[in-house]
Subunit: 95 residues, 5 copies
């Protein structure tokens, strides 16, 4: 999994029918120190995440193991909103 | 998933029989700000995307979860045509 | 999938028994403009590709969805020989 | 698999229900010489690893093949605590 | 698949029970010209490879398709010892 910050949204009307009703969020990746990187992923939201929140996302077939995404053509899922990141006893992020 | 722009097509006559009838499009990747990157993927079209359109593509086993691609040796699928990309309240792309 | 040019071969006698009879080709990757990159993959040939030909290869579990590779420990497959690559109306490669 | 050092923890209360009870650790990757790299992964702990320990982690669907992670939306697992790394007869790390 | 040279070993006593008895080797990756790169992977040996040998390894779910690794939490497998690498008629490596 990777840490990331939700920074935006993607809207699509013409899409595979299995994607109906899924929220597609743009996540800017963070390193393990909770610092923003210059890479992004578009991930399906399974936990009600909003723009500005730090989240954890998983990729690959694992992205299809939530109720919302089972059997669907998606490869990235937000499955946790992060409350705290701690590195060697030092708090790097708190919600 | 990643954002990308459809920039071209690949034609092949000698190919695995399961690929018959699938459209193979060249997608130039975009970052989460809808800016073009210098990387590409060849993806199967499942939504009638055309050259010049901004799309969303998924990779890995997820690429086989559309009607067109089930059970086929493909690892990248275009499963949505993008209408709008919005980053922190600012519109980065509109179709 | 990625475009690539077949540049060589790998020979192995001591290998997993399921690999018997499979041709292992070295593919030099190309970008979406059909320009050679500095990265390589060793892929199983499923279409009779030869050195010098431009091909399309797929990775991951998708590599096991051809007759030759079903159930085998391989993660990259050549499943199409490319006849033509066209970018925004301009022909970048023709066989 | 990759070598890495456990450097921190991630706490989340709002998450997919299948993640309840799993420990989420931040791993800083190491190269094959046991030298720290500048990349990170958040992985589920399946072996009782603690901050400071050198571990081995696996990604993708393999991450779901431990008792703790079966059927869960996770893509990275710590499945071994490393005692020793030896390169060409020279010991690079010992616990 | 990727070419690589076996350069070392990893020893672990505290690990997932399914890893018992598997040999964990450190592989330094090679490009398609059989030149050493600066990246590494830890892979399970399924063919009796030794330090110094050039091998072929596969990643992802494919790594679980050998007798030794079926159903186990591993994502990289050495499944062939390389005898010869030939690029455009020129021998780049011979065992």
């Amino acid at each position: 999994m990777q840490l990331g910050k939700v920074v935006g949204t993607v809207v699509s009307t013409k899409k595979d029918e299995k994607l109906e009703g899924l929220r597609m969020l743009i996540v800017r990746n963070m390193n393990g120190q909770a610092e923003l990187l210059d890479s992004y992923v578009v991930a399906i939201d399974s936990v009600g995440a909003g723009v500005g929140e730090v989240v954890l996302w998983a990729g690959g077939s694992s992205a299809r193991l939530t109720r919302q995404t089972e059997g669907k053509p998606v490869d990235s899922i937000i499955m946790a909103i992060v409350d705290q990141v701690e590195i060697e006893g030092s708090e790097k992020y708190r919600k």
